[in-house]
Subunit: 356 residues, 2 copies
């Protein structure tokens, strides 16, 4: 049997050039050779986030990464606004409560967006607001925040409010400019646009964001302070997963080689192609202002649990909906090394399904 | 130039059969196929820790793993005894303080051991003691605790005291029996005996240990409760690093194929071989009751920073001492797929060095 076509919006298929990089023999991490390598990798991470400021990596999944950023930037009692729009952003609300933050929430129905006006209304009535946690693209629904506009509106009047962005399904797929948009902290994970196995998170921090980190010289795995501090010396505070960093280096080099705008266009082309085809067979994009990273969609009156199985039998793997959207939507990735021909295959299998 | 011989006590060289496993295409983690695979992997982890109880994995480095276990088992204010014998075990003391535990410390000079009598003395005078954090082998010095004896002595009179063991450089290299020794929680990391890149931690928990976990149904990356809960259903609470789990599966299958006693004997043979040779050239084992996992050693009046560089020029990578032991000791691994011929090469290069 041939290899199934993996089109889940994370993990994405790992291309061969990344697998080859991962297969290189390990070098010890307390060595000049590692430092030279890691310096290059961090420069690529700066390019990814379009920043001249501070970057680092951490062994973690995306969830652990956003939690680490929240923990490092905020203190118990801090008033923090968190936008809840789906499974992932709802996690940040839960976690904020666990950290003892004074959490304000704007909640949108899954699939709906939140406007800058809604956000400003809360901020303007909360003079002690310390920060905002924004999920650039909510992967459970595919909704994209208008981050540039939101950030501009907030920072114009409240420059001290820390902006923490979950960029897990956007950095490398859609325009993202940490410096130009005045974002203070951004997080992404290896298994999305970076086409690697899960396990590494990348962070970028503005100078202001950095100045707000909890200081620590003791052991505290989640504190970004230690990671940024070591990254300045081109090293990592614990034992780094050298092979996975090789994979990340290969993917980021590849992305820089093509150029971010080419990558953004590629995702857009795939998304548009897929959505046109979907329209032709009676499907609908589920989300308001969808990101190009993935399409969450419904399909006439079909039971999408059955459709998902039908696709699997044809060797195509998509993700279903989560929680109350199980069976109601399917989600397809436009990230990584996905091609138009893959979109064609999916559309043609969807067309051929007859549930009735 | 040929590949250097990596003999640092973590990370260890990743053998080809592991790299090949890592290069396999990813499967989606919410699938029967993944669950079948993960079930097998967890069975191997049970074998590794010699337990019939609860096991799970987590994306993290070893440090993050021990911190997660401490966080999950203890609450602020709990009285916890932590043995501090070197760089790594000292971290658990720092972290215990950060968690707000009422930390009692027994500190030994680096290279020295701590006896069960010392431990019992503290425990007997602390009726509220909730748990003990033990570092089975302190990797910065190579000292091995007599874990079986210590555990037996504690549990005989204080069965409710939770025993949390950092088994990062012992599980898979030296005898370790979670159930028979009545250990409540053990942690190991992928880049040591398991011959994988850093990035995955494995945990085992007794039934009693499990009953003491902080309950959580919300997002909290460090809480073992969620990992154990998902592991029972052969799944993982976040996006798992599928390829790295393939690597772990391959290594554990290999270890089980050879049998743990054969692995333990192999490390012992290498350690004894190396230490005999060391003795012949005027070297000394640095630590009291050294583990077989690594040898920390001194060498006459040589400057071991220079010796380390001399070895590197000959293509051999060892680790130096940490903190105040920098330049004073070298550390060589006997873990992974290391061979007697590798020990011979190191000894012969050491013999050939002339600093005077």
């Amino acid at each position: 049997m041939s290899q199934p076509l993996l089109l889940t919006p994370g993990p994405v298929a790992v291309p061969n050039f990344v697998l080859e990089a991962i297969s290189q023999p390990v070098i010890p991490h307390r060595s000049e050779k590692f430092e030279t390598f890691y310096h290059e990798l961090l420069e690529y991470v700066k390019y990814l986030f379009q920043t001249e400021a501070n970057v680092c990596t951490m062994i973690s999944s995306g969830t652990g990464g956003v939690e680490a950023a929240m923990y490092s930037l905020f203190r118990p009692g801090d008033e923090v606004l968190i936008l809840s729009m789906g499974k992932f952003s709802a996690r940040w609300v839960d976690y904020g409560a666990l950290l003892g933050l004074n959490v304000k929430v704007i909640e949108a129905e899954w699939g709906k967006n939140i406007s800058k006006e809604q956000i400003l209304q809360v901020i303007d009535s909360s003079p002690a607001m310390k920060g905002v946690v924004l999920t650039h693209c909510e992967t459970s629904s595919g909704v994209l925040l208008d981050l540039e506009e939101i950030s501009y509106s907030i920072k114009k009047t409240h420059p001290d409010i820390l902006l923490l962005v979950d960029a897990i399904t956007t950095a490398g797929v859609m325009p993202f400019y940490l410096d130009a948009w005045a974002i203070d902290c951004a997080v992404t994970a290896s298994q999305k646009a970076l086409m690697n196995p899960a396990g590494i998170v990348c962070f970028a921090l503005s100078q202001y964001g950095r100045s707000q980190l909890q200081e620590s010289h003791s052991s505290d795995y989640r504190n970004l302070y230690n990671y940024i501090d070591f990254a300045e010396k081109n090293n990592y505070p614990y034992t780094p997963p050298v092979q996975i960093l090789y994979g990340l280096h290969a993917a980021l080099k590849h992305i820089k080689g093509e150029g971010l705008p080419a990558r953004w266009n590629k995702a857009q082309t795939l998304a548009q192609y897929f959505r046109r085809g979907l329209d032709e067979i009676g499907g609908k994009v589920f989300s308001e202002s969808p990101a190009h990273s993935l399409t969450a969609f419904t399909l006439e009156s079909r039971d999408l649990n059955l459709t998902k199985k039908y696709l699997e039998a044809e060797g195509i793997l998509l993700s279903g909906g989560q929680a109350h959207l199980k069976g109601k939507i399917l989600r397809i990735s436009h990230m990584g090394e996905t091609e138009v021909s893959h979109m064609q295959s999916v559309l043609s299998v969807l067309k051929s399904e007859n549930q009735f």
